[in-house]
């Protein structure tokens, strides 16, 4: 098999990895040149859409007192992805929970911070309950005007593109790489795969257990996306001693304790996979089984056991227990 470029770097507080096979046509740049170009794209993407950078386009949108705000193509696309996820999830994956996130303590980047113990958090968590959409569905008030280049939303309604950002970035880079025989774009664990070579010989994507950090096994992905959501990375202790994390129940604005600590989903794109994995985690075991049944996925229960949902090619150790 011809050599495949393996290229990695850091961005968006995560490890980014590009696997690029040989070009399909002689006019395509060499894989290394393409990877350098995509690295620049990802770094620019991260700068322009960071909620924590005062000079980002997203911050400018969120701080504008106007109802209608000029927005570049990338920002409009990111906002559209957030609204799409909200619509796809009936409001569960809600991009308008910025103020609630800030209230529970996620008002600054957690890059480099040591997460609190997930096992301790699960042991002291309140009764398990599935998340529900917020009845006001503020995200429905977000409109994108591509012709004029504007985003409209009620002033004061802040938007967080983080819920779909890495998936969108993976999908966009993957789209740029269509001239290669096979490619996998890993943006912090949200992965987009494509190319005719991947359909003939799928990528085996390992699934990391959120508690042990070890591999549960691998799922075969020939096209589309795969993503994982979990509680183990962005989790902290509040001043009152209780635990909080970044996946909120939109109806309460509080961290959700659904009975799951992780969920992996396959999707037609990385954005869809990311949306489905968040839906699964927010809904808990019963809802996750319904959400993941169509495209397939894996859920990790509070006790660390894994459960495969739907039709998944590969090999997953369902009896993997938390260490």
């Amino acid at each position: 098999m011809p050599a495949e470029l393996d290229y990695s770097f850091s961005a968006m507080g995560s490890d980014i990895r590009l696997l690029i096979g040989p070009p399909l046509m002689s006019s395509a740049p060499a894989p290394l040149a393409a990877a350098d170009r995509e690295k620049a794209f990802v770094l620019d993407f991260a700068e322009r859409l960071s909620r924590f950078r005062p000079d980002s386009e997203l911050t400018a949108l969120n701080e504008s007192p106007a109802h209608r705000v000029p927005a570049g193509e990338l920002l409009r696309l990111a906002v559209r992805a957030g609204v799409w996820a909200a619509r796809r999830s009936d409001g569960l994956v809600d991009p308008t929970l910025v103020r609630a996130l800030e209230r529970v303590g996620y008002d600054h980047s957690l890059q480099g911070a040591v997460p609190a113990s997930l096992s301790d958090a699960v042991a002291s968590a309140p009764a398990r309950w599935p998340a529900r959409p917020h009845p006001a569905a503020a995200w429905r008030g977000v409109l994108i005007d591509d012709e004029a280049g504007y985003v409209e939303r009620p002033p004061g309604l802040a938007i967080d593109t983080g819920g779909t950002g890495k998936g969108l970035c993976a999908d966009m880079v993957a789209r740029h790489l269509w001239v290669y025989t096979r490619y996998a774009v890993d943006c912090g664990g949200d992965i987009a795969v494509g190319g005719v070579g991947a359909q003939l010989n799928p990528y085996m994507v390992e699934v990391e257990h959120p508690i042990t950090g070890r591999s549960l096994g691998a799922v075969a992905v020939s096209q589309g996306g795969v993503a994982t959501s979990g509680l183990n990375v962005r989790i902290w202790r509040r001043t009152d001693g209780s635990f909080a994390h970044h996946l909120l129940d939109p109806s309460t604005g509080e961290p959700v304790w659904s009975g799951l600590v992780g969920a992996t989903a396959l999707g037609a794109t990385a954005v869809e996979a990311e949306t489905l994995s968040k839906m699964a985690l927010l809904l808990g075991p019963d809802g996750a089984r319904e959400v993941l049944d169509d495209r397939g996925g894996v859920i990790i229960h509070d006790d660390g056991t894994a459960e495969v949902i739907g039709s998944v090619s590969g090999s997953i150790n369902q009896l993997a227990l938390a260490a």
Partner: protein, 75 residues
């Protein structure tokens, strides 16, 4: 007619001899390249901000390598 044929043959002979005199260059085969980039990023005006250093590595070439599988994970 005879003259035209002779002229054509002369030109052909010159071209063929030219092909033979192209110097043959030694073949160079690049079997592997390893690139390393260091990015030093300073974020100003950010709470808890500072300087972070990240490194990226890339390799390419005809040496057969076994790629580590991509991993889906929380980040």
């Amino acid at each position: 007619m005879l003259f035209a044929t002779a002229a054509f043959l002369v030109v052909l002979a010159v071209l063929i001899s030219g092909l033979h005199t192209v110097p043959t260059r030694p073949k160079v085969v690049v079997v592997r390249r390893v690139y390393r980039t260091t990015v030093v990023e300073t974020v100003l005006g950010q709470r808890g901000g500072g300087t972070s250093v990240s490194q990226s590595t890339a390799s390419s070439g005809s040496v057969p390598t076994t790629l580590a599988a991509p991993t889906t994970r929380v980040s």
